[in-house]
């Protein structure tokens, strides 16, 4: 696993650098809008994003197990700050690589998570029939667990 640093800021930024000199940044953006912005739990909802911040290698990042471990640790750290946090991740499908992104996200989650977390997967289908895999990570003992799961399932059927 790589060392990581919490930068903070509006969108709760984390940063880490791989042994190949690739620097990743992760953000957790507060998004009360996503499920039901009138619900009590709306203040706990965050969107998760990871991206390469610096890559001077001139090559695409290759599979690196330590990256998965580090992302998992950052998740744990973020949930340590507030165990009731809820993270939502959407896989961009603009380049047709949404399933690869989902598999990567699954890898971070299933290999290194503790049993106290739960991940829920859905596919959002827009009116043009484009499919967007979306995942939500929540701790099982979240006091709003049932309401959040219902609200999450609801967003995938809201074009009907």
């Amino acid at each position: 696993m790589y060392n990581f640093a919490f930068i903070g800021g509006t969108n709760n930024s984390y940063v880490f650098e791989t042994s190949n000199g690739i620097v990743y940044e992760i953000k957790f953006k507060h998004s009360p809008y996503l499920l039901n912005d009138n619900a009590e739990y709306s203040k706990l909802i965050y969107e998760f994003v990871i991206d390469v911040a610096i890559n001077n290698s001139g090559k695409k990042p290759t599979l690196d197990v330590a990256v998965s471990e580090t992302v998992a640790s950052i998740f744990k750290d973020f949930f340590t700050k507030n165990s009731y946090n809820i993270c939502i991740y959407i896989c961009d499908s603009s380049d047709g690589r949404q399933e690869i992104r989902r598999r990567k996200f699954d890898d971070w989650f299933y290999k290194y998570q503790t049993d106290s977390f739960m991940k829920l997967d859905e596919v959002l289908v827009d009116s043009n029939q484009n499919r967007f895999p979306i995942s939500m990570v929540i701790l099982k003992d979240n006091p709003y667990f049932k309401e959040i799961v219902i609200a999450f399932a609801d967003i995938s059927s809201s074009n009907k």
Binding site: N11, S13, V15, V23, E25, L124, V125, S127, N159
Partner: protein
């Protein structure tokens, strides 16, 4: 973007993709900030100490 009306999947997808793009753009800009540079420097120093 708050609203009391039930939002459609199209609206949720549009919001999420826009938000993701904004955060990715923010990451590109972050690398020039003092906070980012300091954090990266600390990580590199820590790594160098580990390698000694």
């Amino acid at each position: 973007m708050g609203t009391k009306e039930k939002r459609t999947t199209d609206e949720v997808v549009a919001y999420l993709l826009k938000s993701k793009k904004e955060m990715q753009d923010e990451i590109k800009k972050d690398i020039h900030t003092k906070e980012f540079q300091e954090a990266l420097q600390k990580l590199r120093t820590k790594q160098q100490q580990k390698n000694v």
